[in-house]
Structures are given as structure tokens and as C-alpha cells.
Amino acid sequence: MGTVVIIGGGPAGYVAAITAARKGQQVIVIEDRQLGGTCLNEGCIPTKSLLESAETLEKVKRASAFGIAVPASGVYVDWYGVQQYKNSVMKKLVLGVGYLMKKNKVQVIQGKASFLTDRVVKVEKPDGVEEVAADRFIIATGSEPIELPFAPFDGSWIIHSSQAMSLSRIPATLLIVGGGVIGCEFASIYSRMGAKVTIVEMAEQLLPGEDRDIAEVLKRRLEEDGATIYTGTALSGADAATKTVSVQTGAGVEEIRAEHVLVAIGRKPRVEELGLDRIGVQYSGKGIQVDETMQTSVSHIYACGDVIGGIQLAHVAFHEGEVAALNACGVEKKASYRAVPRCIYTSPEIASVGLTELQARERYGDVRVGEFPFAANGKALILHEQAGKVKVIVEPTFNEIVGISIVGPRATEMVGQGTVMLHAEMTADAMEDFIAAHPTLSETLLEAILNATGQAIHG
């Protein structure tokens, strides 16, 4: 039995810890803050809780469409209650991770770790300093929001995503810099909660990684909810005194006042205070360099999760954490990024897996694209959520399904089926006699596949 020290107790770190413990190692997790990392404490989980509150509000507002009369004056947002609910969800999950650590006999030390040598880390704890030695290390310190050089985070006016989920009240106006996943999710939360939201995105569309037609559905919806969206636009200045930012649009400079400015332009790996230079672990601004087994340039030190850059998603971190721990325990395993679903919990939800249409066209040339709108789906009609569509991309030679994009109700759950198809390397013809339950939203996926091969029934 050897000792494995894991720096960071987020998705990559705690999965690595459990995996290593099950392989019979003595495992120590060093976590600066709460177990669960960004995901549980200031990312995936709390934002989804807020989104669910926004969703519930929307549902109540639309209740009359379903024949349920709700007095308009009786509906309001109890922001404190929204926060309480979010905190209770987080607390339960954080306790759950703590329980898993205990169950697997993983020792958790609270403190900030940095390498003294390649075998010893110094831990600055609330009550003093401790040195911890181990024969293998896994670095899983995650990432943190990137600042704008001319408008650093001040925690009150210029804020980052962690601060944006714990505002003391719903702001009247919110300006979001960055129309990526995080920016769009916050836009979807606060615009539905009643804030006047403005998004400023440098690229020509929201969600630059996804297909334009998919992002367009979200854009229309956000605009319906009262948001203003500037694409192809850069922030050029910010004045805290007047709470005004200036944006450079094609038409000239425009000034926008906002109660808060949420900067969501990306996340950078936390590599700086680890003492990596002392021990020769190679890294760059993009993160710690690792091979497919998550091994760093120092053979007994591994790294996984956001700190290695790549795809910054919790479920990718889970996978990398497992791969890192297995290799650290002598079990050979390579990370596989073959079918990683991407979920955006806006309203409507967006979820995709594999290639976008644009990427597929670049790689395969003339691909077959099958689409099916939720407007033609019975269940979507019942849900009263008919915006959006499913798009399936099939490569032309073997009919392999190489990409699926969904924008619409429950997209993030539906993408699971698509992920199975891509993971299993399905071809469109192999899905021809597939039976989808009726009435479900999932029927749209089947219809889109059939559409790609020209055989849709209801389209």
C-alpha cells in the first residue's frame, strides 16, 4: 500500500480519491475550501438550482395556459427562499461527498497545498502548517474565472460567476460580458427573474462552440424575455463610479449602465500557487501538461480536471480523475473523449454531443443533416414548450451518426440517448427500426435520424 495525495476535492479530485482508495491506497485529499469544488459550490449545482427556481416561476406564470388560475398579484420571487433552496441542495451534496470520503477511508485535510519537493507538500491550514509526504500525487486544483485586465473583479460591481449566484437581491439591470455557456445560463436565470439583462459577446453569435442555428433559438428566447444581446461586440471600458461600461459596436461606442457587470469570459487553470516550478512539472497558461494517462512531466505526479485545460466540464473531470487514479495505482488506462455530452441549462435547454454541423462539414464535406422541430411533437405541445429542434448529423460514407444537437425542452436529459449512439458508433441505418415511446420528447430524436436518411414519418 502506498500513499496518494490528491490536491483538490472537486469532481476530478474526489473521484480520483475514491478510485485510489478502492485500489487499496492510503489517500489524503487536501482541499482549501469545501469538498465538491466549483461544481458543487459555485458552478453546475447552484446554477441549476437557480435555473430551476426561474423555471418554476415561469411555469406558474404560464399556469393559466393549462387551465390553472393563479392570481398574477400573488406570484413573486422570494429571493431569500431561492437562495435558501440553492444552499440546502449544495449542502446536501457537499455532505454526500464528505460521506463518500469517510466511507472510503479517505483522509481530508483542509488547507492550501504547495509542493516543497516532488515528494512533500506543505499545507497551510487554518490552524498552522503541516507537511504531508506521499509517493504519488494527483493535482486537481480546478480553475477560476478569468478577469478583464481593465476591469478586475471587485466583488460588488464587477463580479464573477461565483458571486453572481449569491447576489443579495435580484438586480434591476445586469450586464454580462461573454455569451458562452456561463453567461447564457446567468442570462436565462436573471432575465426570467425580472432583471434587465444585456449580453456582450465578442464572437458573431452566442455560444460560439455550437451551431449558429441552435444558438439562434436561444437568442430569440432571451430577447423575448427582455434581454439585449450584442454580438460581434467588445467591452472597451468600465467606470465603477458611474457604473457604466462602454461597448464598441460596429456602429460606434455605446454606453450602458448596469447594477452589476458579470464577467464570464472563460476560466483559467489554478496552477500558480502550487510550487510547480520547484519540482519541474511542466505547465503553461492553458494548464498542466499531461499525457493520455493524466501523467505530468514528473512520472509520479498526475493531474486531471480543469487544471489540465481541455474540456472544462465536471463529467470530463470525473473521467479524468478516475483515469489519473487508476494509472497512479498501476492500472493502465487512457482517457477517452469520444462522446462527451455538452449541456447548457438555459431556457430552452441546449445539449449536444459529437460534432457540430459546422465541424462535420469541415471534416466530412457533404454531410446529411436530419432535423425535427419540437413544434411537431405531441409531448412538446402538451408541455407548451414548442420552441427548438433536434438536429442529427450523419457522415456520408458509412452513415455514422457523428453529431447530435438539441435545443428545446429537456434537451439535457435527451442528449443521453444521443451520447449512447455516438459512444456505440451507431449508424443511421442501424437506428431505422428503433422504437421510441409515444408520446415522448424523445420521438423527435428518432424522427431527426430518419430525416437524415429521408424517412421521417411525422416531419
Partner: protein
């Protein structure tokens, strides 16, 4: 739903496998990961682990059954559970198969399931209806006319993925380029020529002044040898002791016997045969050397055998095989000699069955032909001993005060210290030496 126990594909060239012995009976509780049935391919023998917890609810292929890989051998499920359907095409219904198998148990070693499987043509003429392959990989291979059977899958449970097919296609293209006539008649690497049924060799050939690196995938037999040898060295307490036996008298006797046998046209008697005989006789005297250290169950145990199944290591171009002479202790010198020759011949022609390569209790490895003296043979687990035989060398030896020309044979005995200590191992080695130096004892 019941979990299937499936005959795995153990190597590239494996077509069918043999069920050697079920370690569990129908109705026995099974823990996932527990060894439940011994199987073998033509090359190796292994224990199959239970894929799930539960109860062995049916055995579809009985001991001695020979079936294509992918065939369901048995089912693990809950008590009283019925097997719902057979996942493999060909058999009508697994329940029938299981029932038929049980019925056939007493009369025939090969079960009805096997017969059904063999006589029903598999769909699309492919024997591997159980071949795990992704839909797109299948289409790609079909399009390219590539035999899926020749591809090793790297996906879950050996599933052939798109990447595997792409790699195979790239290799095929490379091999085509390689075998195309080239002006300066490049010398082929010593390895076997590329073909779809052999581990593909990825040769990156360049001009003569550059470095040539040949990458060979570790698969099939090589992989088995690699795994077993590393396991042997890592998981036993093996050490080697050496001695030299004076073979001068034995060589004289062997010449006499050989010429007599030749007259009678009874084949040849070699020194190897006499050494094997000496080992068998010594094993009968020192039974602890004829043991195995087993860790397949919770408590490790030592099994000491009354019978001698003698393994004779044979080097083939593709790697090492160890044909086994069963009950070597019940064979006369002449019978032993014939058995060694026949099995060696079969090994070289790649015609050994799984049965003929399993169950050895002690192994002899002879490197004398290569001029090797002493060496450190690696135990063939779980056996407790292996005797390495070197090259006979004529040297001057003092016999009393007189210097004589004697023929000495280097012997290297590797033994497992977990099973026996140095002294009994030395006694065994001494006994082999005695037998060889008093060759008449070998005839009695």
C-alpha cells in the same frame, strides 16, 4: 437477467476453445470475479472469472466441450431464474440448450449446444455472430473487404471500434506498400511476414542510413507469455541452484541403446529422453518438487502430486510452448522417448490441443542446443520447479588422482521457495545428478 459466461477469444488465431473443467456445479453460489471454469485455447489455458454474482443456473457446454469463441458456456443468475433468451443466433432457445446440455452430460462429453451451434449456419456466413463490433466499424470493414475476425477489438469486452478498423486498414495499406516490389530488394525484417492472421508488424522503413524501428503489437501468444512470465517472477519466491552431472557413462549407454533401437527400427533415443527419465524418477523420490503453489482460493495452498505430468519446453518461431507428457511416471523409457518426440513434432506443426499443453507438474527446458551452460529458467506457474538443461561439455576431471576426459552437463534448477526450502531442492537436484551418473538406474 442471467449473466452469460462466454468463451473468450484468447489470441488472434484462436478459432475455438475447450472447456477443461467446471469448478462449479449448477446451483452453486458464485461471486463475481471467482474462477468458475477452466478453459483453454490451442495455446494456453486459463481460468474464466464469473462476470456476475449469483448462482450458476445452467451449464451450456460441459467439460471437454470444444466450441467457437463467443459461445455461451453457462449462465449466472438468481435462484430459480429462467434463462430468457439466447443472445446468440443459431441455438433455438437457451433453455433447450441448457436442458439438452444437462441431458447430454452423462452420455457425451460434447454437449448438444455445441452441436446445434456448429450445424446451424451463422447469419451472413460468419461464425462470429457473437463478434462484438460497432455498427460503423462493421460497415467500414465490409466496405474495405477486411475480415473482422482478424481485427483485435480495443473497446469494452474486446468490441471492435471504428479506430480499430482504421488502424487495421492503415496497417494493411502499409503492408501493401511494403510488399510491393522495390528496386533495391530491401531485406525483410526477421519477423514473420505480414498477414491478417498474425500480429501485425508496423515497420517504419526508411533509407539505410536512418534508424529502423519495428513496432510489434503485443498480442496473442506473445502477450500470454509476457503476462505469465512476469506473473511468475513477480508472484513467486523463485531462485535457481546449479550443478553439473557427469554424463560420460550415460553417453556411452545412450549410444549402445540407440544403435540397438535403430536395428529394431524403434526410433531414436536421445540424451533428452534419458534426462527426462532421470527427472521423472527423481520427482517420484522427492515429491515436494512435484508440487504447485495455488492462490486461486482465499487461502493459498500447496498441492503435491502423486502423478508426474512432465512439461517439455519447445521453442517455436512464434514463441515458447510447453507440451505436457501426462503420467510420465507410468511410461517406460521407450514410451517416454516416443511421447516426447510425438508432442515436439505436434508442437512444431502447431497441432497441439489444449489438453496437451495443460496440467504439467514439472517442466524441463533444454537450451543445450544453443551452447548455453547454466541459466535461470523461469517457473511455469503454478509449478514449484523447472529444470534447465545446458550443453554437454568435455572437460578434464580428476577421478581420484587421475585426470580423465569427462562429459559434464550443466543443470539449473529453479524452484519456488514458498513450496520447499533449499535443502530438499538440492536433494532433488542431487538425485537427478545421481540418476544421470548411474544410467543403469534409468533402465530399471
Amino acid at each position: 437477467m442471467a449473466a452469460e459466461v462466454i468463451m473468450p477469444k484468447l489470441g488472434m488465431s484462436m478459432v475455438e476453445g475447450t472447456v477443461i473443467a467446471w469448478k462449479k456445479q449448477v446451483g452453486d453460489p458464485i461471486a463475481k470475479g471467482e474462477g468458475i471454469v477452466d478453459i483453454s485455447s490451442e495455446k494456453i489455458e486459463m481460468e474464466l472469472e464469473a462476470p456476475a454474482d449469483g448462482i450458476l443456473i445452467a451449464i451450456a457446454v460441459n467439460d471437454g466441450g470444444v466450441v467457437p469463441y463467443g459461445t455461451v458456456l453457462g449462465y449466472i443468475g438468481e435462484s430459480g431464474e429462467q434463462i430468457e433468451h439466447a443472445s446468440h443466433a443459431g441455438a433455438e432457445s437457451t433453455q433447450d440448450v441448457a436442458a439438452a446440455a444437462v441431458a447430454a452430460e452423462k452420455t457425451e462429453p460434447v454437449s448438444a449446444a455445441v452441436t446445434a451451434e456448429n450445424t446451424t449456419p451463422a447469419p451472413a456466413g460468419r461464425k462470429g455472430s457473437n463478434l462484438r463490433v460497432s455498427p460503423v466499424a462493421k460497415k467500414m470493414a465490409e466496405e474495405a473487404g477486411l475480415d473482422l475476425e482478424s481485427i483485435t477489438g480495443t473497446g469494452p469486452q474486446g468490441r471492435i471500434t471504428k479506430e480499430d478498423v482504421e488502424k487495421a486498414l492503415a496497417k494493411e495499406a502499409a503492408s501493401r506498400a511494403e510488399t510491393a516490389p522495390q528496386p533495391q530488394g530491401t531485406s525483410q525484417p526477421a519477423a514473420a511476414p505480414l498477414s491478417s492472421t498474425q500480429p501485425a508488424v508496423e515497420a517504419s522503413k526508411t533509407a539505410s542510413n536512418q534508424e529502423v524501428v519495428e513496432r510489434t503489437a503485443v498480442t496473442g501468444m506473445r502477450k500470454v507469455i509476457a503476462t505469465r512470465m512476469l506473473e511468475s517472477l513477480q508472484q513467486s519466491a523463485q531462485l535457481t541452484m546449479t550443478a553439473k552431472a557427469d554424463l560420460t557413462d550415460l553417453l556411452a549407454l545412450q549410444r549402445q541403446l540407440a544403435s540397438e533401437l535403430e536395428k529394431r527400427q524403434e526410433g531414436k533415443l536421445t540424451v533428452t529422453d534419458l534426462i527426462a527419465r532421470a527427472v521423472v524418477l527423481s520427482l517420484k523420490k522427492h515429491r515436494l518438487m512435484n508440487s504447485a503453489y495455488l492462490t486461486d482460493q482465499q487461502e493459498p495452498r500447496i498441492e503435491t502430486y502423486g502423478h508426474v505430468h512432465l512439461g517439455i519446453a519447445v521453442a517455436l518461431e512464434k514463441g515458447l510452448v510447453v507440451p505436457v507428457i501426462r503420467h510420465a511416471d507410468q511410461l517406460s523409457l521407450l514410451e517416454l522417448s516416443k511421447a516426447i518426440k510425438s508432442l515436439g513434432e505436434q508442437a512444431r506443426n502447431n497441432r497441439l490441443s489444449g489438453d496437451e499443453m495443460k496440467g504439467s507438474t514439472f517442466t524441463i527446458s533444454n537450451l543445450g542446443a544453443y551452447g548455453v551452460e547454466h541459466f535461470t529458467p523461469v517457473l511455469n506457474p503454478p509449478e514449484a520447479g523447472i529444470l534447465g538443461v545446458g550443453a554437454i561439455e568435455a572437460v578434464p576431471v580428476y577421478r581420484g588422482e587421475e585426470l580423465q576426459r569427462r562429459s559434464l552437463l550443466p543443470l539449473s534448477l529453479t524452484f519456488d521457495h514458498r513450496v520447499l526450502d533449499g535443502a530438499p531442492a538440492a536433494q532433488f537436484l542431487g538425485s537427478v545428478k545421481d540418476c544421470l551418473e548411474n544410467p543403469l538406474s534409468l533402465l530399471l
